[in-house]
Symmetry: C2
Subunit: 206 residues, 2 copies
DNA sequence: GAAAATATAGGTGTAACTACCCAATTTTAT
DNA sequence: ATAAAATTGGGTAGTTACACCTATATTTTC
């Protein structure tokens, strides 16, 4: 019998997971929480075998919560849940100790499989995501932006010109131009439009 | 007794809605569908009073389906369901005849209220969305892009230069430049970065 | 402490974008 | 049928971005 706790601020999702898991005799949903704080309180009282953890939650988000849980209760196996597959979030959750990662459009079968897999201590990554992660791994060296580059990329997406960025950061125009060119090369895009798209999808802005 | 049908490709959401609505004696979930096509087949056999319709679905999406349903079965009250509040989608769904609009983070109470409201023929818009719609209404005149402008905006976000766009659309470079300038003015942004941001947040790309 | 990576800034040139004009034609709406 | 809006294209000018170099501090990393 696997004891499962769920933390998700969406009532609909919470109920859906409960209903699906109720059909399985070897899985028991012992606790449900609507946010990260009440989850942390609850865990102090009792710990489940497996924790389904939503990433987007008001207050403490899933990434923060995962870090706390893995430190205080390393024996709890965590599965991250999300409706959007933003790679940077996936990576962060895995770094924080999540054993599994699921999109909310997963089928009941996949869901159950994931719970059983992480319960044994193995990792479970939803197929479309693991493929993306592998692809990302091979191109990550070229995608690792420095602090300054991120700073400048952010200002670019905020519609500033190179000159404005230079003034704001007390740099030469040339320096900013160089950083911008390096960004274009590292991110393998052609122009500002490409930079902004990547900045948004990587969660650097907005 | 209100008969409700649900169409959503997410099993978790489907189960969640069923579980929540099962608690209410005057609401009965008569049919559930995992995609638009099976929904349309099912409706030919019998029609519910209220239809909960997901927007993002594989195959026919919610917007297409809503158009078809409202023509064939105008007596079915539709509520659009989505996890992201993209204004342009809200507007389209309402144009297609949806009486209600809900985000998937809605509470069970809101959900039930929405179903009961549209069943009487009244409109139900989830509060955060209706506020946005009102705000949008006052600024919409300046934000209403023409077909050509949208086309060009999309090509800009795909990293094409004006010259490339001109070649692709068999236009003069000047024409494209003019459209681009009009876009900058209409959307009240300063440069390409601003254009791309709006294009993404309005769901024109990606 | 040495090596690698990062941040800085300059040179030079071209391509692309932005900011104003104006006007003819076609499409859409009333 | 007429007015309004959209599409097309041109003129002129200035600014900004992009490409491809070199080079020296400074910081990080091992």
């Amino acid at each position: 019998m696997i004891n499962v706790a769920i933390a998700d601020d969406h009532s609909i999702v919470l109920n859906g997971l409960q209903k699906i898991l109720a059909l399985h005799p070897d899985i028991k949903v012992t606790d449900v929480y609507l946010n990260g704080d009440s989850l942390l309180e609850g865990l102090d009282v009792k710990q489940p075998d497996v924790l389904l953890l939503d990433i987007q939650m008001p207050g403490k988000n899933g990434i923060e919560v995962a870090g706390i849980v893995s430190k205080k209760f390393p024996e709890v196996k965590m599965i991250a849940l999300t409706n959007v597959d933003i790679l940077i979030q996936v990576k962060k959750m895995l770094q924080k100790g999540c054993l599994g990662y699921l999109l909310k459009d997963a089928s009941p079968e996949i869901l159950v499989e994931a719970i059983k897999t992480v319960h044994t201590g193995e990792q479970f990554l939803y197929e479309p995501l693991s493929r993306q992660l592998v692809n990302n791994f091979f191109s990550q060296n070229s995608k690792q932006l420095t602090r300054r580059e991120k700073e400048i990329l952010q200002l670019i997406t905020e519609e500033h010109t190179n000159q404005e960025i230079a003034d704001k950061l007390f740099l030469s125009l040339r320096t900013v131009e160089n950083h911008r060119n390096n960004l274009l090369q590292k991110l393998d895009v052609k122009n500002t439009a490409g930079l902004v798209k990547i900045a948004i999808q990587e969660g650097l802005v907005k």
